[in-house]
Each structure stands twice: as structure tokens, then as C-alpha cells.
């Protein structure tokens, strides 16, 4: 297994296990065993790049208005830290024909998606997307690494390392189900300076503005119902970790019998950044966030030793497991204490090299003011993410609740 940031070998040999196109399906695809149409089976398992603590699901992509020539794509990363559906070009069947989004002059629109650890470049296409029993029609999505758009503008490549292949991305795609309705939002409506969207005539790509509707959308916000947010439900994981963890991504908050808030508390988010405050060891981390797409708890603590082994470089390696606590506080003032543990990453991996899920994996953060509550936070909790402006029984989004 690769602990990320991890060894250079990358683990999993062979190509990504892409599914073949489903040419005869006339009914919406659902995942086997799902009891309700708003429930998507998710699992923490090795994935195509053999990285720990990544949670995956399958989504089905169809040409708009065409329910016959669909393709189900597995090992799509479930990510509350980003917005929009993105799939790697290399896993798409050549017979899946998705319309290219263009500007008013017919020039193709290509996006430079920015992540914490790099950028992903590829065209914006339009699809009908089916997830569990829900559907988002005419959804702008990104196809990453499309060979038809191999020339990457310097504005984009200058943002960091590239993540344009299954191996560098770590998945066959990503389903961004964060608290925002579009990936860029007003910044890209008002200005092309964010460097996210480009029009690419043959003379070369130029940054452009895009309206809200033209940007990549949060697929959940485009469902006919159950569209005000999501719940990630993952069971607890033993201290030694687990080989595999199965859970659910549930659509809607308080819209069905299976998605009520229950006893969860609501923590409002900064409406511009999607962040809240974490108080840890008498320090304030004012730009904190909960992110299912981060594969550890990332926070700065100079008192915890960092691993020196090549395979676990970048993670924390305390001499013995640390029992720690922090306070999470929403912009609405609601706060709660969160207990968590940090184990020695070397020991975790050495004791169970085939395990995929660890609740006690942590790493130093790049962010002075950011405490990144990654996937370990989700084990043993129901975590709600409410979409900005959406009405829920817990008040309007954006918020997280648990």
C-alpha cells in the first residue's frame, strides 16, 4: 500500500480497471445492494494507484438525452473538498460521445482545476450523470488529460505538479460534493484572472470568464430532489486499521426518512472559503475544513516527530500513539470538542501492509491557519455537508454537521 505522500513506486501495477460501456441499459444504474435511490455505496479500498484512505464510488455517465450509451466509471474519488465531476480521459470509452462546451465563438472551453497538490487540465464536456438512483442532466463535467488538448498554457502549468493521469490523480475521477454550487463561483464570473477556465482556438488558449451556469456544477445541486447536501456515513475503524471499509453517500438533508440531521450539530462555514475555526493546543486555525479527499488529518504540530522512512515520508511518526483533542467552531459559534488519535505511520503500515483504511493517520500541514480534517475524521461519524444557499432543517447552507 502506498501511504500518501508515499513511495515512488506507486504500487498498483497495470491500468485502471475502467468498466466497458453499457450499451443496453435502459434503466438508471444503481449500485447493487443499495436500498434507496438516494444512497450511493462507497468504499475505502486500494484504488487504481494503491493509496490509503481514499473513498471511492461508481458513477454513470451518458451523452445528454441518451440513456442507452452510458458508461459506468468505478473508483471515482468522493471529495467534499472540491466541486464538480471530473473523469480521467484514459478511462472513458471511445464510443462515449460527450458534447464539448464552447464559448460564443465556438471555441472549446478547457479547465485548469487547481488542487492542494497540483493541477488537472482538460476540456469541459456535457453529460447526463446518474449516481445511485439520482440524475443530473446536462451537467458540465471535466475530462482530464484529454489528448486533444495536450498543450497546457503556462498560466495553468505554473501552479504546481500535474495530475493528469490515473496514477498521478490516484483515481479514475473525482466527484466533488462540497458546499459550493460551482467549482469557481463568482471569481470566475467576474474575472478570468483565477486562471480556471480557458477558451482554446487553434491560435492558443486564453483565460476567459464563465457564467455560473457554464462552470462545473456540484452534481448534487442539479438533482431534481434530495439536492440540498450530502451525508457521508462510514463506520468506525479499529486502531490497527482495516483492509476495506464500506459505507454510504446519501443525497439530501432532511428530505427522506434516511437523511435527517438527528442529533448532529450544525457548524456554519465561511461563505467565501468554506472554512471554519479549529482550536488546537491553544492555537487558532482560522481556515480549517473537513475534506473527505484528504487522506489523513493534516495539521501543524512541531512537537510530533515526522517520519523519516521513504515509504511514509511526510506523515507523523510519534514514538507512541497520541490521544489528542481539538475544538471545532462554526462561524455560527457552535463548537464541540473532537478527540482523535495519531499513530506512528511506520508501525501502521508495517503491521498490516495490505490495509487501506486508518483512522489515526496524520501529517504535518502546509497551512499555518488550516487544520485539514481528512478522511480519518469521517470514520465512525455521519458527516453532513449542506450546499450554499440550500434550505435544510438545520438552516441554510453552507455548513457541515456531525
Amino acid at each position: 500500500m502506498v501511504l500518501l505522500p508515499g513511495c515512488s513506486g506507486g504500487g498498483g501495477g497495470g491500468s485502471a480497471p475502467a468498466s466497458s460501456p453499457d450499451s443496453s441499459s435502459s434503466t438508471p444504474s444503481t449500485n447493487t445492494g443499495n436500498p434507496a435511490p438516494n444512497v450511493l455505496a462507497i468504499s475505502v479500498e486500494p484504488g487504481p494507484a494503491n493509496i490509503v484512505n481514499l473513498v471511492f464510488a461508481a458513477v454513470t455517465v451518458c451523452p445528454p438525452g441518451n440513456g442507452s450509451d452510458c458508461q459506468t466509471i468505478d473508483h471515482v474519488l468522493i471529495d467534499t473538498g472540491s466541486t464538480g465531476l471530473r473523469v480521467m480521459s484514459s478511462v472513458l470509452s471511445p464510443v462515449l460521445s460527450l458534447p464539448q462546451q464552447t464559448d460564443a465563438n465556438g471555441n472549446p472551453i478547457v479547465a485548469c482545476a487547481q488542487f492542494a497538490d497540483g493541477f488537472s487540465w482538460g476540456p469541459v464536456k456535457v453529460a447526463d450523470v446518474r449516481i445511485a438512483g439520482e440524475q443530473a442532466a446536462q451537467l458540465p463535467i471535466q475530462v482530464i488529460g484529454d489528448p486533444a488538448f495536450s498543450s497546457i498554457p503556462k498560466n495553468c502549468s505554473s501552479t504546481g505538479p500535474s495530475k493528469n493521469t490515473v496514477q498521478t490523480f490516484g483515481a479514475n475521477g473525482v466527484l466533488g460534493v462540497g458546499a459550493f454550487r460551482q467549482d469557481c463561483g463568482s471569481a470566475c464570473v467576474q474575472s478570468s484572472n483565477a486562471g480556471v477556465y480557458y477558451a482554446c482556438p487553434s491560435s492558443g488558449c486564453q483565460p476567459v470568464v464563465r457564467s455560473s451556469a457554464e462552470q462545473l456544477q456540484n452534481p448534487v445541486s442539479m438533482f431534481a430532489g434530495n439536492n440540498n447536501g450530502v451525508i457521508i456515513e462510514l463506520p468506525a475503524v479499529p486502531s490497527a486499521g482495516a483492509a476495506r471499509v464500506d459505507g454510504s453517500l446519501i443525497f439530501g438533508i432532511g428530505t427522506q426518512a434516511n437523511n435527517g440531521l438527528g442529533t448532529a450539530s450544525v457548524f456554519s462555514l465561511n461563505p467565501s472559503t468554506g472554512t471554519f475555526t479549529t482550536l488546537y493546543k491553544n492555537r487558532t486555525f482560522g481556515s480549517s475544513f473537513i475534506d473527505s479527499g484528504s487522506n489523513a488529518l493534516f495539521f501543524q504540530d512541531a512537537g510530533i516527530p515526522v517520519c523519516s522512512s521513504v515509504t511514509t515520508l511526510g506523515f507523523y511518526c510519534p514514538a507512541s500513539t497520541q490521544s489528542l483533542s481539538a475544538t471545532i467552531q462554526g462561524t455560527n459559534g457552535t463548537n464541540t470538542s473532537v478527540n482523535f488519535t495519531v499513530a506512528n505511520a511506520n508501525s501502521l503500515l508495517a503491521n498490516n501492509p495490505g490495509f487501506t483504511a486508518f483512522s489515526n493517520l496524520a501529517a504535518p500541514s502546509s497551512l499555518v491557519r488550516g487544520f485539514d480534517w481528512g478522511l480519518p475524521f469521517f470514520f465512525g461519524r455521519n458527516v453532513f455537508v449542506a450546499i450554499e444557499g440550500a434550505i435544510t432543517p438545520g438552516g441554510p447552507g453552507p455548513y457541515v454537521a456531525f
Partner: protein, 150 residues
């Protein structure tokens, strides 16, 4: 942070600034203004005693801070904002080192920390809220902690 008086900016303007100067980390003070020009930003400065901190606000709203020692060397840079700045410009020759180091760490799933003898890079956040910093450990002025770089 109090912006420096206007006279400081005039002083910078009188320096010869090669238009295509690569910048800024490891470079001289002139590379700071080269960054400002290339990124189409505005510039403010503040002296903190042990070093001078320059703040460039780029049109996207992202802020880039460049830290210059009394010897006139950019020993650290930091960024914060809704989208990533031109890190190739800001890290200069260290950009390739950062990208190569990131590749050897394998596929991504969260913030990155690159820690090498001559370069430390922290890069993290998400769309609408990125931040990061990079510094050359050997060039940190006496008594300056990396925690001051943000």
C-alpha cells in the same frame, strides 16, 4: 502591517529591473518587483527588523508575500487566496525542484510538504482557499522562525 512610505517604492522603481527576470525565491530584491510586474499586481512593503516583507496583491485576489533579508536575498515566499498564484514565477529556479520532488511522492490526496536540504515547500488548501509557503532553510536570517512566514 503598515505599508511602507512612498519613498521606498520610488527607490525600487529606480533599480534596473530586467523585464524577464526570473524570480523570486533565492533572487535579489529586484526580482520582487519583477514578480509584481509579471503577475500584474500591486506592491506594499513593511520592514520587520530582521527582514523586509513585500506583499503583492494579484488581480485574482490572491496575495503573495516575499521575504527579503538584510543582505537583499529573497529567502522565503508565501501565498494565500482563492486561486493559486504563478508559482513558477514566485519560486523561480526552485519551481522545477518542487515539481520533481512532488512527483517522487506519488499521487496526491491532500496538502503537500516538500522537505529537502535546500528547499522546504508547503502547499495546501482547496479552490477558494489556497495557502502555502516556501523557504530556503540556510537563508533564514538569524532568529527568524519558519512560522513567521505566512
Amino acid at each position: 502591517m503598515v505599508p511602507k512610505p512612498w519613498s521606498m517604492n520610488i527607490g525600487l522603481m529606480m533599480l534596473f529591473v530586467p523585464f524577464s527576470a526570473s524570480a523570486a525565491l533565492g533572487g535579489g530584491v529586484a526580482s520582487v518587483q519583477a514578480d509584481q510586474i509579471q503577475m500584474n499586481g500591486t506592491l506594499r512593503t513593511a520592514a520587520v527588523g530582521k527582514y523586509t516583507e513585500y506583499e503583492i496583491q494579484v488581480p485574482s485576489g490572491t496575495v503573495v508575500r516575499e521575504y527579503v533579508s538584510s543582505a537583499g536575498v529573497v529567502f522565503a515566499v508565501a501565498w494565500e487566496g482563492p486561486s493559486l498564484p504563478d508559482l513558477r514565477q514566485v519560486l523561480g529556479t526552485y519551481f522545477e525542484q518542487y515539481v520533481e520532488a512532488a512527483k517522487t511522492q506519488g499521487g496526491g490526496a491532500g496538502p503537500r510538504v516538500i522537505r529537502q536540504p535546500g528547499l522546504v515547500v508547503h502547499a495546501g488548501g482547496h479552490m477558494r482557499a489556497f495557502s502555502g509557503r516556501a523557504y530556503i532553510p540556510q537563508m533564514l536570517p538569524q532568529g527568524v522562525s519558519p512560522d513567521e512566514i505566512q
